[in-house]
């Protein structure tokens, strides 16, 4: 069926409703755009510890330093790799859960599952990470149980390494993945899967050829969101990685908070921001390609 486009001004009932959007717009401008732009701006100033004044002395020194020192460019790669792994794990864990929620018609059970997912977002992230540490530390529940059962002699290295960081980040981002997927999966009309079945597709083929491609917008949006949340997380790598898994946000924190090197920290932040932008671009290309020409 053809749908007629409705212009934004029509949908907003003329121009008057724009006034309702103005406060949000001003807030966004004042407290997001301006600070981020100023941070980006000082990344082009020479690094002077303890000084935060923006000058017009333009230099690329900070960026050259980032891309010539392994300490920094390896952190970029580590951040990207971590984001990709976390997005993949969250997708593999989140898709079945989202599928279950989307297909649960019983209203009570559906609400219960939703609460389960949302509840994990209610606690502050720091508190949740301390909880994970109680579970996964060298003397934590898992290791003491395994040692108690004489299954291992030495504690397993579950924390203060990349594994711990991935577990922490997946725990934090999983609800976002699930929420991105549920609506999309629910919107896939069951008769599409049934049509595929009666045309000769087994359950698996119907999933692979119909349900999965139609889930793609949710898969892409969820992965993008999880990727962006993961590469920008400071708390999780700091607590679960114990500063041993050095990713971009840790450099930013160390440069600015510990060394007062605002300009260099800002340059690392700019790289982080750029990585997210590239991810958005990749997402957009993938969305166009997987939508079968639907734009």
């Amino acid at each position: 069926m053809r749908r007629r486009g409705v212009s934004i001004s029509e949908a907003f009932g003329g121009f008057r409703l724009w006034w309702l959007v103005l406060p949000a717009f001003l807030f966004f401008l004042a407290f997001f755009v301006v600070p981020v732009l100023s941070l980006l701006a000082i990344s082009f100033n020479k690094t002077v510890p303890g000084v935060v004044t923006l000058t017009d002395a333009f230099t690329l020194d900070n960026f050259v330093r980032i891309f010539t020192r392994p300490l920094y460019y390896e952190a970029i790669l580590r951040s990207i790799g971590l984001g990709v792994v976390v997005a993949a794990v969250a997708l593999v864990l989140g898709y079945p859960l989202a599928f279950l929620i989307a297909k649960t018609e019983h209203p009570g059970r559906n609400t219960a599952l939703m609460i389960l997912v949302l509840a994990s977002m209610q606690l502050d992230m720091v508190i949740r990470m301390y909880g994970l540490m109680v579970l996964m530390g060298d003397t934590g529940l898992i290791n003491s149980a395994l040692i108690g059962l004489h299954l291992i002699d030495e504690p397993l290295p579950l924390m203060y390494n990349a594994f711990g960081v991935v577990v922490g980040l997946v725990q934090v981002t999983l609800p976002f993945m699930v929420l991105s997927l549920v609506g999309i999966i629910r919107a896939i009309h069951p008769s599409l899967e049934e049509a595929a079945r009666s045309l000769g597709a087994s359950r698996g083929e119907a999933f692979r050829r119909v349900v999965l491609p139609l889930s793609m917008p949710g898969i892409l949006a969820g992965s993008l969101l999880v990727f962006a949340l993961s590469i920008s997380s400071y708390v999780v790598p700091a607590l679960m990685g114990g500063w041993k898994v050095v990713v971009l946000p840790i450099h930013i924190y160390q440069q600015i908070a510990e060394a007062g090197r605002w300009q260099f920290g800002a340059a690392v932040a700019a790289i982080l921001f750029l990585t997210s932008l590239v991810a958005v671009f990749v997402y957009h290309r993938a969305a166009v390609l997987t939508s079968g020409g639907r734009t």
Binding site: A195, L199, G293
Partner: protein
């Protein structure tokens, strides 16, 4: 041997039955309609045949083989859904190729079949369109093409016309019927629209409250309804209270407004039973139109409504009312309100049913 056999097919959800003890035999090449009001279990019956709903009890046989336990993809049954279910991420050609690719046909063969089937449904040149670029009628043709191209043994259609506007519905009714006749494919058609069922079907199964209440040709269903439900569901009928005087040889003599009339006797009718006489408005004759042997009784014209091709009379008979419709033709007598008239009908065109 019949092509489809449903044996005591039952589906219950919780305490209530969606389908109860449906027993049907559908012949090869037959166009069979399941007709009934909303919620009577038509779709559930169809979905059990297609394999999407597991029967609580009973069996489904196709060409003599029990397919009750087979998954949908192994039943060789094509189904067209009410919403057409065109895959939105594939264009028309890819939609039609879906079943063919699963059957691992050679590429050239697939291309040839897509072309043929699009020609058959009058959509040549639509190969690269997507679902959102198709009208409802076009989507329906694609859905049909997608099913028919795989040459299924059985075609199931679940209210395929209900989403279309009236003009298109009329057109598609005959188009689908013609296509079905040409392909000689055994078809079960689900609808709640009596016009569709009457014009398209070889036979109709009328469903009410999870059961099949009557199976017959459109003519049998229309002219010989077996229950008051079928009577009231198909067309408009006069249903008046009568007292049964005698029953013999399938005919009953009943008392209505002081007169005694003959009519066909429904099942289980006996002297003294509370009963309803059923007669369609178009079968009621007035005055000189009556023939020898017709049941007759006196009536008074209450009102006359001119409707172009027909004129409609409300007639008082005792304390009940009967509606008569007369073709508005040359030389047909008209009656003003208040006129005392004799009305009647051929006994064979009326039926007395248990109330």
């Amino acid at each position: 041997m019949s092509d489809i056999r449903l044996v005591n097919l039952t589906k219950s959800y919780g305490e209530g039955n969606a389908v109860s003890d449906v027993d049907l035999a559908i012949e090869e090449g037959e166009f069979f309609s399941l007709l009934g009001p909303s919620g009577c279990g038509k779709s559930t019956t169809l979905r059990m045949i297609a394999g999407f709903v597991r029967p609580t009890s009973g069996r489904i046989l196709i060409g003599g083989d029990d397919i009750t336990a087979l998954p949908p993809e192994r039943r060789d049954i094509g189904i067209v859904f009410q919403n057409y279910a065109i895959f939105p991420h594939m264009n028309v050609a890819e939609n039609i190729a879906f079943g063919l690719k699963l059957r691992k046909l050679p590429k050239a063969e697939i291309a040839r079949r897509i072309e043929d089937s699009l020609r058959q449904v009058g959509l040549s040149g639509y190969e690269t369109r997507y679902q959102r670029q198709l009208s409802g009628g076009e989507q329906q043709r694609v859905a049909l093409a997608r099913v028919l191209v795989t040459e299924p043994r059985i075609l199931l259609l679940d209210e395929p016309l209900s989403a279309l506007d009236k003009g298109l519905r009329e057109e598609m009714k005959f188009w689908i019927k013609d296509l079905q006749k040409k392909l000689k494919i055994t078809t079960i058609y689900v609808t709640h629209d009596q016009d569709e069922a009457l014009t398209m079907s070889d036979r109709i199964g009328v469903m009410a409250k999870s059961r099949i209440v009557q199976v017959g040709t459109p003519q049998e269903i229309y002219e010989r309804p077996k229950t008051l439900f079928v009577t009231s569901f198909i067309g408009h009928s006069n249903v008046v209270d009568v007292a049964v005087r005698r029953v013999a040889d399938g005919m009953a003599v009943v008392a209505l407004g002081g007169s005694e009339l003959a009519s066909r006797a429904g099942a289980g009718l006996a002297e003294g039973a509370a009963a309803k006489l059923v007669v369609r408005p178009e079968n009621i004759l007035i005055g000189t139109a009556l023939r020898e042997g017709d049941a007759r009784l006196p009536a008074t014209v209450v009102s006359e409504t001119y409707q172009g091709a027909i004129v409609r009379y409300r007639l008082a008979v005792g304390d009940q009312e009967i509606v008569a419709e007369r073709q508005n033709q040359a030389h047909v007598e008209r009656f003003a309100p208040g006129t005392a008239v004799t009305i009647g009908w051929a006994p064979d065109w009326s039926e007395t049913l248990l109330a």
